[in-house]
């Protein structure tokens, strides 16, 4: 009988440790550090972008609604890509749902760190349907 009780005790302890491990894992995967949380915050003046890597080039797509293409400035130096553009019309932040902020977005600004194997001297770009597409070839090996 004491053997059965001891077995039961060991089983309960083992299950409790397993469950605690699962809880810790869940909390870890779902909770974010302040640094991670702040990295999700988006500055309204900063456009979203995606970077696609191909065999011989990188293509950066930057979403810039309302951008005035005539005011577009692109600077690439070292491993930094800097984009600036004015908006065709000023957008109040409450128009786009920022409840507790005030202010007006009149321009876009963004700095991106580029991969080490880019040849910025051969950068080309175009604007297609309100999105800026920047193509930068890779330095040949």
């Amino acid at each position: 009988m004491w053997r059965d009780i001891e077995e039961l005790r060991r089983y309960i302890v083992r299950r409790m440790l397993e469950i605690w491990g699962e809880i810790e894992g869940e909390i870890e995967s779902m909770m974010q550090t302040p640094e991670e949380l702040s990295s999700i915050r988006v500055d309204p003046k900063e456009p979203l972008h995606s970077v696609y890597e191909y065999e011989d080039k990188y293509v950066i797509v930057m979403d810039m609604p309302y951008a005035d293409n005539a005011s577009l400035q692109i600077n690439a130096y070292d491993r930094t890509l800097e984009i600036k553009a004015k908006l065709k019309k000023a957008v109040h932040v409450d128009e786009i749902g920022y409840r507790f902020s005030s202010g007006v977005i009149q321009e876009y600004r963004k700095k991106i760190t580029l991969p080490p194997d880019v040849d910025v001297s051969k950068l080309t770009y175009k604007v297609l349907r309100g999105r800026l597409i920047i193509t930068i070839p890779k330095i040949p090996r």
């Binding site: 995967s29 999700i40 309204p44 979203l48 972008h49 786009i96 297609l128 349907r129």
Partner: protein, 259 residues
């Protein structure tokens, strides 16, 4: 929150109804969860605007971390909201679904669909396409499970997704629908993986309109595409992070097997 007249709990997923309602037949349960290109979220948001359905309930994920409540005119709502009109039931979400609750939520939705005797579940989602920027008119594809669903999609005039991988809640719903004796259709449209894509959402709504026989005007969606892209920037960034946790980029890789 409106008075709850009915509550069902399915393994930690609570489905609330605020009023009695019936759906005409054939009924369509449209799911628009934030994912690639925010296609699902933007589509159902426009659908709600155009159809003006009644908000008849909501879904809460009881152990979700962090806990979320949506405030509308000072009134709390669960993070997923249910709207109904005629033969269309719509599920809309204001934030992406954490990977840890995907199975529970998906099965909760399936259970509720059985209870409500839904004829067709329709998931609206994006297919992340790296060269989307070169595509002027994104293409819509279908995937379906269930005999009646396969018959319906055959008349849509859109291509079948012959070969691919689906990740996330729609994957669970599509593969498990037959176990629940439900018909499930997934409409996928080429889109930017992690930039809001209202133009892709408009294309998917045109196909949805044909599927359901409900007239949906997408002109306003296209007119307001730029403001929608600005408005959904933060949600897109958050959704992209969650999609990354799920391994959503696997959808873009070729299949291993030829059969």
């Amino acid at each position: 929150m409106p008075e709850i007249i009915r509550e069902e709990i399915y393994d930690g997923i609570a489905v609330y109804e605020y009023e009695e309602f019936d759906l005409k037949e054939p009924s369509f349960f449209v799911l628009g969860l934030p994912d690639a290109g925010l296609v699902g979220g933007i589509s159902v948001s426009h659908l709600i605007r155009v159809l003006n359905p009644r908000e008849i309930g909501g879904i809460d994920i009881l152990r979700m971390t962090p806990p979320i409540v949506i405030i509308k005119k000072g009134d709390p709502r669960p993070p997923l909201r249910l709207f109904a009109k005629d033969n269309v039931l719509i599920l809309a979400a204001e934030s992406p679904i954490p990977p840890s609750v995907i199975y529970q939520l998906s099965h909760g939705i399936l259970e509720y669909s059985v209870k409500r005797r839904i004829d067709y579940m329709v998931s609206l989602t994006g297919l992340g396409t790296p060269n989307r920027v070169e595509i002027s008119k994104p293409k819509v594809y279908w995937a379906a499970s269930g005999k009646k669903a396969l018959e319906e999609v055959a008349r849509l005039g859109v291509d079948r997704l012959d070969d691919g991988i689906l990740i996330g809640p729609y994957a669970v719903i599509l593969k498990d629908a037959t176990r629940y004796r439900l018909n499930s259709i997934v409409l996928l449209v080429e889109c930017f993986p992690d930039l809001p894509d209202p133009e892709a959402a408009a294309e998917i709504l045109k196909v949805f309109s044909k599927l359901t026989g409900t007239s949906i005007d997408v002109s306003k969606l296209l007119e307001e595409a730029e403001i929608i892209r600005m408005r959904t920037k933060e949600l897109m960034k958050h959704t992209a992070k969650v999609m990354n946790q799920m391994g959503k980029s696997m959808e873009m890789r070729p299949s291993l097997l030829y059969t």
